[in-house]
């Protein structure tokens, strides 16, 4: 683990044409997308990535192994199944002078499960 517990990130490279407009606008970079790895449901690590290229549905899924919440990484990691109520916060990506991928800033929303007064 690198960094703080709350700053864990999952970084994926997806086919550019699969990404929704808002995902690109939020900071996807040539198919690279970065989301918080902390599940918005109860805080487990969203550690599973599933790919299904069978027609007609092309499926990309991020899955939390604890309670089986499913997120769609092509569309802002919004929840598409399971008990997670909110999408995973996205990181805006950029490239620095030396060609490394960097985050342009912090997450725009609280990471993980939210406390009752964070609504």
């Amino acid at each position: 683990m690198i960094g703080r517990d709350d700053s864990q990130v999952v970084l994926l490279r997806l086919r550019q044409e699969l990404l929704s407009a808002s995902t690109i606008e939020q900071g996807a970079l040539e198919g690279w997308v970065a989301y918080s790895k902390i599940c918005t449901h109860a805080g487990c690590s969203v550690g599973l990535f599933g790919v299904d290229d069978r027609e007609p549905d092309v499926v990309r899924q991020l899955v939390c192994p604890c309670h089986q919440s499913v997120f769609d990484p092509t569309d802002g990691a919004k929840p598409v199944g399971g008990p997670a109520p909110r999408s995973l916060p996205q990181l805006s990506l950029g490239v620095d002078d030396e060609g490394f991928l960097v985050a342009n800033g912090d997450f725009d929303r609280p990471v993980g499960p939210i406390a009752w007064d964070e609504g």
């Binding site: 683990m1 690198i2 517990d5 709350d6 864990q8 790895k37 902390i38 449901h41 109860a42 805080g43 487990c44 690590s45 969203v46 550690g47 599973l48 939390c64 192994p65 604890c66 309670h67 089986q68 499913v70 929840p79 199944g81 399971g82 008990p83 997670a84 109520p85 909110r86 993980g112 499960p113 939210i114 406390a115 009752w116 007064d117 964070e118 609504g119």
Partner: protein, 539 residues
Amino acid sequence: MALTRFIPKQRPRLLRRAEPVDHRRGLVERYVESVTGRTGGNSFVTKSLRKVFPSHFSFLWGELALYSFIVLLVTGTYLTLFYEGSQEIRTYTGSYEALQGQDVSAAFDSVMRISHDVKGGLLIRQMHHWSALLFMGAIALHMARVFFTGAFRRPRDMNWSIGLTLLVLSLAAGFTGYSLPDDLLSGTGLRITNGIILAIPFVGERLAYLIFGGEWPGTDIIGRLYPVHILLIPAAIVGLLTVHLGLVWHQKHTQFRGPGRTESNVVGERVWPSFAMKSIGLLFLTAGVLTAMGAIFEINPVWLYGPYDTAAATSLAQPDWYIGFLEGSVRLVPPWEIRIGGYVVNTLVFSGILIPSIIFGGLYLTPTIERRLTGDVADHHLLDRPRDAPNRTAIGAASITFVAVLFLGGAQDVVARTVNLSVGHVTSVLQFGLILAPPIAFVIARWVCISLRDRPGPERTERRVPIERAADGGYHIPHDHIEDWMVAGGAAPGHFDDISPRESVRSGAATTDDNGHDADADAATPVDDDVDSGKPVGR
């Protein structure tokens, strides 16, 4: 016998007249003698040992829980010699090669040491874990037995609450123990707990900071759970268990209906020797089976999971079975989130707080609800068969079905893999099942009960037992018929038309006869009358 010569003629009143060892007397009789001869026939010890406990296989679950708890205490004590409750980071240098050189917490390091380097450590650790699983299972069965037979009714409603509190404490013990190794699974469990605490309205965030010593994960939580697991909870369990058993002792154990059994007596076995021998046997059996399980079956191989790491995750992650229903609740409740002003009622409030509260609230209120529904406020010492109370049994069946669906929900990924469906489909089916299955179970259970109740029962095992009248006027059951006599219930008065059942059947009278020994100890079923003990049960 030669021994009698050494016994002084004038003995203190406390001691009974020593009987010459008579090998013609039965084994049981000599066991009784071995105690009463030393403590006096009327002492507290003797009275206690002569206490009568009814016998039925379903009365065994509570004992099983007690004995697995004893195994837990003994194995747990050994583990505390080596466990370190600290999250201080160090490099693993033990003998498990795959993790050598990795940074781990002191807690995880010590559990690895127990598992791989301490003599007998893995055996004891696995015994401890298996005992916990058995302990919870025995408690669940015990509670089901008490519920379905109506044993929770007045005057035992108080003991129902105490037993239930013991269950809650045991769940807390299980949860804290599960968290201590600080491996990937236990850390994930703590993370979820942190999320649930955060969701508590009004106090959530502060409470989470208080318990965890700051933001997740902090460095305090393991060190705080440790004394809770090894001191506070076990002490509370031991204390309440003492009250629990003391009340069973004082209020006397319930019994099923049967020949000679009434609301004001107890028919069964005396504590000494038969009940005690069986019970001690069960203790050793439990300990033996748990030792074998600890030796043979691997459980919670933390070295395969590795230390907790927020960024790591594992698929097919399940908690211990007794947390399964809570896990299922957290998995099955939809992503509801209610926002009021700047506040949010999280989905975890419903799944992690509301549903468990309903389950345990319902359990605590069970005696009250039963009183309200039936209007029956009387004391009960005779048990119902489940079929005799169709509504209660149906409510119980519906509740168990609800919890069972939650339990399946806690492993819905495993279910999906097994039946080869998508997790989403299985989840939907279980969500509907959670609402539909309990009423269906209610209807079916009620119908089964009523059908069974209204059907003429099977013929009671009717074995005619001859009795012989001896020259001195006493009655005996011939030795080769004693088994028949026991099978027939031991005390069927219909077979003794010409003698008073109180004389022949109640060995309570016989045990206190002039000779001071049980004339019919091996034959008759002991009966304890409240009249004799001088303490009316209940009000």
